[in-house]
């Protein structure tokens, strides 16, 4: 699993760091950053991504395919 935070979309809501504090934190600009991509179970990381108010967290599988947000058909 690969995690990407789109900084231009992130508004620093901090929901991700509340749900998965071992994976996400806010930097000095109050943008989410990944501090440890393996710091929580995949399901917790996915929950953090799904809770983002602006869909700023992208999740990719090991093959590089985007799994969240689900790409538009």
């Amino acid at each position: 699993m690969k995690i990407e935070v789109k900084r231009d979309i992130c508004i620093g809501a901090a929901t991700c760091s509340a749900i998965a504090p071992t994976v996400f934190e806010l930097d000095a600009e109050l943008k989410a950053v990944v501090k440890d991509p393996t710091g929580a179970p995949d399901s917790t990381i996915m929950e953090a991504a799904q809770s983002c108010p602006t869909l700023a967290i992208y999740i990719y599988d090991d093959a590089g395919k985007q799994v969240f947000p689900v790409p538009a058909a």
């Binding site: 508004i11 809501a13 901090a14 929901t15 760091s17 509340a18 749900i19 809770s51 983002c52 108010p53 602006t54 869909l55 947000p69 689900v70 538009a72």
Partner: protein
């Protein structure tokens, strides 16, 4: 404050009205109570997109108020511009840390521009409804007189509550405007002589928030008494 994990809420549009050529007022009835604190926001689920919108109403009210700048013309603008009574919507809530510090005893300066007034409207109405006795001043910056949303409401609140002062500020005043002109950053130190003694809650476009923060810091307002929310137009 602790971050509450947001939940999804279905709601129905009760009213959609044009407040100004650029701003739409939306009122929703949620199927169940969506808890939030004044100053917080919801994230609207719009197709494959999400857009944050601050609550302009008070917690516990049956209807939820939002004000949306539709000038960007994007997903949220389109949603708001075409919303009509009966439309079904969904949102996640609550989000945000732009909330009142309950430990604070200082007088309160609120500064808003444009639709940045939404969370501040909720905060001020909540404070006044709770019988707050501290001085509360609202500096509300807009381009022209017709851009001042909730003007009559704030004027009525100022009439009713001697502790509340409403100061609209226009950067492009037209006609017979006799109120403040220019930028809120210019008006604040002129209208509040002991600025460093106040706590400030600032919400609006990013340049204003940045400039106001710099002004307050340079005036001597402690950083912990400056609360900000950058409020970009909904795209």
């Amino acid at each position: 404050m602790n971050v509450v994990i947001p939940k999804e809420y279905p709601a129905t549009v009760v009213a959609a009205a044009t407040l100004t050529p650029k701003v739409v007022f939306l009122q929703l009835r949620p199927e169940k109570t969506a808890p939030f604190v004044p100053g917080q926001y919801a994230s609207f689920l719009l197709g494959n997109n999400r857009r944050p919108l601050s609550y302009a109403s008070l917690p516990g009210e049956a209807l939820l108020d939002f004000v949306i700048d539709i000038s960007p013309g994007g997903v949220c603008s389109q949603f708001a511009a075409h919303a009509k009574a009966g439309d079904a919507v969904r949102f996640l809530s609550p989000y945000g840390r732009f909330v009142m510090n309950k430990e604070d005893t200082r007088p309160l300066l609120f500064v808003a521009t444009g639709t940045g007034i939404a969370p501040i409207r909720a905060q001020i109405k909540d404070l006044l409804a709770q019988g707050e006795t501290r001085p509360i001043t609202l500096l509300f910056g807009n381009y022209t007189e017709r851009d001042i949303v909730f003007r009559e409401e704030f004027e009525a609140l100022a009439q009713k509550h001697s502790t509340f002062t409403f100061i609209p500020v226009l950067s492009n005043a037209e006609g017979a405007w006799s109120g403040e002109t220019g930028w809120v950053t210019h008006v604040a130190p002129r209208r509040i002589s002991d600025l460093p003694a106040w706590s400030a809650y600032v919400c609006g476009n990013p340049p204003m928030v940045k400039d106001m923060t710099a002004l307050l810091l340079s005036a001597g307002t402690p950083k912990e008494h400056i609360h900000t929310e950058q409020f970009t137009p909904a795209s």
